[in-house]
Symmetry: none
């Protein structure tokens, strides 16, 4: 099966935004054995869109259009598609009700522009867009499949994963492909490759390994292909169990699981609570944890101490400690944790203090120097890390490292419950 | 002048990397009045590449190929191009010497693969690649211009800005294109469209408007085309001034500026400080502000009060207030701000308390209900907002709304300094 992606949007052609939707779609299609043979970005212009569709038909079985479906005047895709498939726009009651209730939930009343979103081409199958107002549409013609979906990334992702990939699986797939991704934190890609080299070299022929690094995280994706799904699953499970024994401190979860979710689940399971005291990470640990629905069960909050005064006033870090050792020191992060446990009365505490950059570095403590402490009432464990020069990546790495330190030192169970 | 970009690379078609080169090239071309009419990503395959070139010729005057020139693949791409332009590969002494000295600088001696990089099609003009080993190539045929350059971003950028854009400027008189993007917060896209309809309908013919929504933000992009750049700039400025009078509370900046940066710059200019008390936003306001280098000059920190106990203990919210009105109420966010100003001793305070969901909603206070307060010593301004059902987007919207409330109520200057 071959697919083509057509991205509609002048904002990409003028370089205002980078098309990251196509990479997401290509990846999802690849997982079910569909290869993308071309990606085309075209303008919000009827002729350009129709020509792109016609050319894509010559090369592919599946044509995916994204973008051009917003409620405002610059969006014309729906009318073009109705004409292209010789049909007219008709009112769709389900879509109307959905748009109405979605807007009502935001305290917005329907206007004319919103109502128009409930009109869809008569011969299309609606790919219901639960998270937005523009419905996705699926057409079939001459044994080819066409879909048109919004370009807003979270709406696009929703329709691709919840509506379109299931449709493809049901209608077209033959060979079995099994993916499993191992999430690791704390070992740089090149060191990881060395550590697991023997394991990697002895993988069965059915399994391919890919390294997918992000700042602070390396994902190891195992892909198995063959006829028998049960056999592939069992092959992968065996290999992952071997891997976990080699790098237990790094493996925190599977399949795009976020480390904050791994930590949340372990705390929830053990009925424990935590709090954070953040300096250089500036609320990022807190933001990750509170992104999880229900996190208030395990999380009491944070003190973002972006000045020494606050470290002293709320966390009871001694002024003398800061004067003697500096705000970025073992002593300071330890006192931050102690103060946190006393004030927030939680089972665990995390504290971070570092130099995120670009300014503030010295010879002794260059940009990237970061002290992290994790603690409970009985034990304080502090570590010094040296990250890099980029502010954003330093913040990200410190955040992930702190969460993995809590997991490794106090929560443990994570790598045994696969 | 119209251009097309053809990106060669299987790694993009499988979704492993996102094509960010095209956005860079499109932006650079736009600046000199060349518009990009299509971007195509095609595979490392002779037929696919030749077909893409042929189709691009029908639409554009300039065809830009990126990628497919690495040391292992370059003879293929180069051979394809030599054949396409009816010529042969010839040895180029300048390129050879350059590759040799570049590799020597890295302590590498020339091998066969490297030597081949010095062979280029006979009728091409070499776009000298000072920063890498694969030379760029420029061809002319039937009044059209073709270039083939490496896909490695820093090599691509070098050749585009140092070699190709100067060539375009010198050889073609081009139309001017001016873009300006207005950043707005707080008015949903469909309502914005209604509010500015009269203004939009009376825009001069030279200007086109596009709506680019993100959760909590709508960008309005004005594009002007014509012969005289000064005139276009003045036309756009006039229209933006009119727009600012219609929606002054929504317009916080221009050209992809982040709202946290707008707030930071205003505080810095006025030599003021702020702190935050976050419940449902869980550290996201803090994380945005501290992402800015130097933010410690205006930001003292935050209390992430994810439990009522902490609201009371650190922020001095009265237990009676929470019991009577609830944690999500005008009274609670006001007391959070007051407590914050007293403890952190800043000029301004922001507090947020809401129901991010998916759980915790009631008939009276459904998921998405959010109270936000902004304050200084003399004044407390609290607003109730009803966002949507999605936790992540509720957090994002509350975060952006809170920052815009501080700007609108206390910092002001932003929309007058365009």
């Amino acid at each position: 099966m071959k697919a083509e992606i057509i991205t509609i949007g002048d904002e990409i052609l003028i370089g205002q935004i980078v098309d990251s939707n196509s990479a997401f779609i290509a990846k999802e299609l690849n997982k079910v054995g569909v290869s993308v043979v071309q990606i085309t970005t075209t303008s919000d212009d009827a002729n350009a869109i129709v020509n792109s569709i016609k050319q894509a038909e010559n090369r592919a079985d599946i044509i995916i259009l994204t973008g051009g479906l917003g409620p405002t005047k610059d969006d014309i895709t729906k009318l073009i598609l109705a004409k292209y498939f010789n049909t007219e726009l008709v009112f769709n009651k389900d879509v109307y009700n959905h748009v109405e209730s979605l807007l009502a939930g935001r305290g917005i009343t329907m206007n004319d522009l919103n109502s128009k979103q409930a009109y869809v081409p008569k011969n299309c199958e609606v790919l219901f867009n639960k998270v937005g107002t523009a419905p996705g549409m699926l057409f079939k013609q001459n044994k080819k499949v066409y879909i048109s979906i919004p370009g807003v990334p979270f709406e696009m992702k929703h329709i691709i994963t919840e509506r379109f990939i299931p449709f493809i699986k049901e209608n077209f797939i033959t060979e079995e492909i099994v993916h499993k991704t191992v999430m690791t934190q704390g070992i740089p890609e090149s060191h990881l490759a060395e550590k697991i080299e023997l394991w990697e070299d002895s993988l069965p022929l059915e399994i391919k390994l890919a390294y997918l690094p992000q700042p602070g995280i390396v994902r190891l994706r195992l892909t198995a292909r063959g006829k028998d799904r049960t056999n592939l699953l069992s092959l992968i499970e065996t290999e992952i169990q071997k891997l976990q024994k080699i790098i237990p401190e790094a493996v925190y979860g599977f399949d795009e699981e976020k480390i904050e979710l791994a930590v949340y689940k372990l705390l929830k399971l053990q009925n424990k609570t935590m709090a954070t005291a953040e300096s250089c990470t500036g609320g990022n640990i807190s933001a990750l944890i509170t992104s999880i629905p229900g996190s208030s069960a395990i999380y009491k909050g944070s003190v973002i101490a972006y000045s020494n005064e606050i470290k002293h006033k709320i966390l009871n870090v001694k002024e003398q400690t800061i004067n003697t050792y500096g705000a970025v020191s073992k002593q300071t992060v330890e006192e931050m944790c102690t103060g946190l446990l006393n004030t927030f009365n939680t089972d665990y505490a995390i504290s971070v203090s570092g130099i995120a950059g670009p300014d503030g570095g010295t010879d002794e403590k260059p940009v990237g120097t970061t002290w992290i402490c994790v603690a409970n009432k009985d034990k304080l464990i502090a570590e010094k890390h040296l990250f890099g020069e980029d502010r954003g990546r330093n913040i990200r790495r410190a955040t992930l490292t702190a969460l993995n330190m809590l997991r490794n030192n106090f929560l443990k169970l994570s790598t045994t419950n696969y």
